[in-house]
């Protein structure tokens, strides 16, 4: 049985950063991921990473922008840590090899981004996430003697001991189908978000909320799950991401009348207001009949106003996306976009060291909710979040492992999980196809739990999710094999997604106000008196999840009206 001081699930930016930090602290480390690390969804982050590295900037300004962006739901102690540690972290990345683009003096160049009061986004063209992920993986290869890699292994369950501490996981080697129990003094979840609960989404097919559901199933509370970010610029055709960097470089949003409508909604920041504000503005234009394209369901993003040479150098990836996936040359004509599901602010509740309330279980990155994003995440803060809290989790877990005995585990959970997998593989073809249920979930979540929400729609969504959960119990698959049986993993992922979706819907029903990404047309105002608090979701067997609250940490910024 493999045994490590620190076992990390997921190998995107948070997971790889945690692994390097834990190894640097002297721990024995394993990095386990259901895809090869460079396929992780961090690779898709385009625009950049925020840090107050300009001498004229101040991390407090970054922190305030983040607090304001969160609609005052973010925990300010965590935000202070993230923003004050950001410059050092970006410099560390530069030192290990990230090819950040430079200004004419050879220093890191900084671009404008949404909701930020000055240019503080460091970038590598518009492949920042890819560049960072690949450079971290270079380091993981360099650390081969200190970090064991389990690439293409799928975690089925977390394992707790009798005292309720997390002592390992059960996982399946995708390539051989072999199940294995992993003992660990500490487990760090870094397995990403749950965007696949929505269709369309900018998120990759692997973003199925595995870690969120696995933690929830062993009793860890989820927080801020109602806060689902719709990105203002996703391709109308298929929901692919068009980076906020485009607007950072100066692109305009236009409605059917050719009007720069953001004037009406955010006269100061215009296109660079925070994402919830811009997405709502777009959706309002569309709903009021001023959308463009087929059925008026889109908005034009006009990048032609940006210098062409600059676009080719700094936004090359979206030039390619426009050409390859929409048949549009974005340097010569506007491209049709619309708001689309992009990020979940919520996740497994953690403290500022990434620790969850379950001893030995940590979470970092999109799977976690510290909460630094509160009701709405600022662009280019997610990469920062993964690195800062990935590193802190790794360091903290390594320290916790010191002097601790390696837990010993039986194979009870392994046998349960193996049986479940065998059951799914052996199911009669009497129920629905797994793929059908997934499709219905995505479409319904996008219809009812989107930019604008109301009680009736949310209740409807909840009923649908409950029904789909029932149907999933008998849903069937085709693949009967053991080698690369992606079909059976799809069935497990569906059950994870359904848990995440239910938590989101229940929290959205609970929050009877409008704040950040949660806009209730039946409660259109923010209500600090009642709702300046986090909603926590706890598992309640097979029944509807339990709701509780936790306070928002306020250090130096009292809630005020939010205007851009």
């Amino acid at each position: 049985m493999p045994a490590h001081d620190v076992l990390i699930i997921g190998a995107g930016l948070a997971g790889q950063r945690a692994a390097l930090a834990a190894a640097d602290a002297g721990a024995s480390v394993a990095l386990l991921s259901k895809v090869h690390p460079v396929r992780s969804h961090s690779v898709a982050a385009a625009g950049g990473i925020n840090a107050a590295i300009n001498p004229a900037d101040d991390w407090r300004s970054h922190a305030f922008d983040t607090v304001k962006g969160s609609d005052f739901l973010g925990d300010q102690d965590a935000i202070e840590i993230m923003c004050s540690e950001a410059p050092g972290e970006v410099m560390h990345l530069e030192h290990i090899g990230v090819t950040f683009h430079r200004n004419e003096s050879g220093e890191l160049d900084l671009r404008a981004f949404g909701g930020a009061s000055m240019n503080r986004t460091a970038y590598v063209a518009d492949i920042t996430g890819q560049a960072m992920l690949h450079v971290l993986y270079e380091q993981i290869l360099k650390y081969s003697d200190r970090i064991d890699r389990y690439e293409e292994w799928f975690v089925t369950s977390l394992v707790l001991d009798d005292d309720g501490g997390c002592v390992g996981v059960v996982a399946r080697d995708i390539r051989s189908g072999r199940m294995e129990t992993f003992a660990a003094k500490n487990v760090i979840l870094a397995s990403g978000g749950a965007g696949q609960c929505y269709k369309p989404t900018t998120n990759a097919l692997i973003c199925t909320g595995d870690g969120i559901a696995q933690a929830y199933r062993v009793g860890a509370p989820l927080m801020d799950m109602e806060m689902i970010q719709y990105h203002p610029t996703t391709l109308a055709e298929n929901g692919f991401l068009i980076t906020e960097g485009a607007r950072g470089e100066g692109a305009h949003l236009l409605n059917a009348d050719g009007e720069r409508f953001m004037e009406k909604y955010a006269p100061n920041k215009m296109e660079l207001a925070s994402r919830d504000v811009v997405s709502r503005a777009e959706q309002t234009e569309i709903n009021e009949g001023r959308g463009v394209g087929e059925g008026g369901g889109g908005i034009y993003l006009d990048i032609t106003v940006v210098d062409r040479k600059r676009v080719l150098e700094a936004l090359r990836e979206i030039v390619n996306i426009g050409r390859d996936f929409a048949g549009t040359d974005i340097t010569r004509e506007p491209i049709e976009i619309r708001p689309g599901q992009h990020y979940i602010m919520g996740g497994v509740k953690t403290d500022i060291n990434g620790a969850t309330p379950i001893p030995g279980l940590y979470a970092a990155g999109e799977v976690a909710c510290v909460s630094v994003h509160g009701g709405n995440r600022l662009g280019a803060n997610s990469l920062l979040d993964t690195l800062i809290f990935g590193r802190r989790s790794g360091e903290h877990a390594a320290a916790r492992a010191t002097g601790m005995a390696m837990p010993s585990l039986g194979d009870d959970q392994l046998r349960r999980d193996a049986t479940e997998i065998d059951d799914i593989i052996g199911r009669e073809r009497t129920g629905r196809r797994v793929s059908e249920i997934k499709e219905e979930l995505g479409v319904e979540m996008n219809r009812n739990v989107a930019v604008f929400r109301d009680e009736a729609g949310l209740r409807n969504a909840h009923e649908i999710v409950r029904r789909l959960k029932e149907e999933a119990k008998s849903a069937y698959i085709d693949d009967r094999g053991t080698v690369f049986n992606q079909d059976v993993l799809g069935a497990l992922e569906l059950s994870f997604m359904l848990d995440c979706a239910e938590a989101t819907v229940v929290a959205a029903i609970e929050r009877k106000e409008s704040r950040g990404a949660q806009f209730r047309t039946d409660y259109p105002e923010r209500n600090d008196e009642v709702w300046l608090k986090h909603i926590d979701i706890g598992r309640n067997g097979d029944d509807v999840p339990e709701v509780s609250y936790s306070p928002v940490t306020i250090t130096q910024w009292q809630p005020e009206e939010r205007k851009y």
Partner: protein
């Protein structure tokens, strides 16, 4: 504007299936799917997987050509399934059916899934794929020229999909060839001014008999790459840095071969094949063929030479004299050499700096 919203139509996919547990040989299987012509081959495969057969194996994740998971061969050409439109794939098909099979040069695990660890990742590890920092490490960022970071972005843009490895002809002949993806990765460090061991890296890859001089300029990798990394161009840049900047004379004779090639074309306007080998081994002048290493190499090559003579690829008289070019043409060739060699700086072909060819033209009003 875009042709994006065309209605769905039928496309038939012919997928190469292989089930390692069945004991059966690989076989072809056809599925007909309905999608707009602008949608991708990957979406087609995913529709077949969702509707008809969930056991179809393909790695995929982002669907937007950034994660690098879905490298396959479509109608015999390597690329990403998510990056190939159904209509274009149909147009390129032999018989109206879009053929999808696993990538080459790597063992197949199941269906369209290949073992990248066994080949691709092993080769990446070969090039010491991490930055070896110049000391001292500054407190803030390294101050480096703006262009240098844009320059390495081209090789940084590699998503490790393996499409170039799939169809690398040199690797087919020499499986030990470090290969296009790994060498592009090597350039990412050799071109990075923060790296302390550029000379050592270049020396290592020049001395390796399967290193930078093992590439035969077939352009397959440039064609295959979905991200414009142009691996072969990166290999050529490694060579120029090794020979031109660091004057590394390697035991594979790569540097001397290149010098002989360049010299012969400069003098005669065309390559003088019979002189190439002697000059590469014996010295880059007329007397090269009389040097002992050259004689040894010539004796070694006798079977090849005999065959070429028998097949009339060369004639004894032709071998003794260089090809003749009209005087004006020869002058033109010389002029090209003068221009290129007269430049203060080498101009490198790099998409991130030079942009597309069309950028030279003015945008239509």
């Amino acid at each position: 504007m875009a042709e994006a919203h065309k209605p769905p139509q039928d496309f038939t996919l012919r997928l190469r299936r292989y089930d390692p547990e069945s004991g059966d040989a690989p076989f072809w299987e056809e599925h007909t799917i309905q999608l707009g012509p602008h949608r991708s081959v990957l979406e087609g495969i995913l529709q077949a997987k969702a509707r008809f057969d969930g056991s179809i194996g393909i790695r995929c994740s982002c669907r937007a050509a950034i994660c690098g998971s879905c490298g396959v061969r479509i109608n015999g050409q390597p690329g990403l399934a998510c990056h190939t439109h159904l209509d274009k794939a149909l147009a390129a098909s032999r018989d109206g059916v879009i053929e999808v099979e696993p990538m080459g040069n790597m063992p197949v695990i199941k269906d369209l899934i290949v073992d990248m660890d066994a080949v691709h990742w092993k080769k990446i590890q070969r090039v010491t794929p991490w930055l070896i920092n110049k000391e001292p490490i500054p407190e803030r960022e390294y101050i480096v020229p703006r262009e240098s970071m844009i320059d390495v972005t081209q090789s940084m843009a590699c998503i490790q999909c393996g499409a170039c490895v799939s169809d690398c002809l040199s690797m087919e002949v020499d499986p030990l060839f470090v290969g296009p993806a790994a060498l592009a990765k090597a350039y990412r460090f050799v071109g990075d001014p923060r790296d302390a061991q550029q000379f050592e890296r270049l020396k290592d890859l020049a001395e390796d008999p399967h290193g930078i001089f093992d590439c035969t300029h077939c352009f397959k990798c440039i064609e295959a790459c979905p991200k414009g990394v142009a691996p072969m161009s990166q290999i050529m840049r490694l060579r120029r840095r090794a020979t031109g900047d660091h004057h590394i004379v390697d035991r594979n004779n790569g540097e001397r071969h290149e010098a002989a090639f360049v010299g012969l074309v400069k003098d005669h306007g065309l390559l003088w094949e019979a002189e190439l080998l002697p000059r590469s081994y014996g010295g880059n002048n007329f007397f090269g063929k009389f040097a002992p290493p050259s004689a040894l190499e010539l004796i070694d090559s006798l079977p090849v030479i005999t065959k070429a003579l028998l097949r009339r690829k060369v004639t004894p008289m032709g071998a003794l004299k260089p090809h003749k070019l009209p005087k004006d043409d020869l002058k033109q060739v010389k002029r090209i050499y003068d221009t290129v060699e007269g430049r203060d700086e080498r101009i490198e072909l790099n998409l991130y700096i030079s942009g597309y060819d069309e950028d030279v033209e003015e945008a239509p009003a």
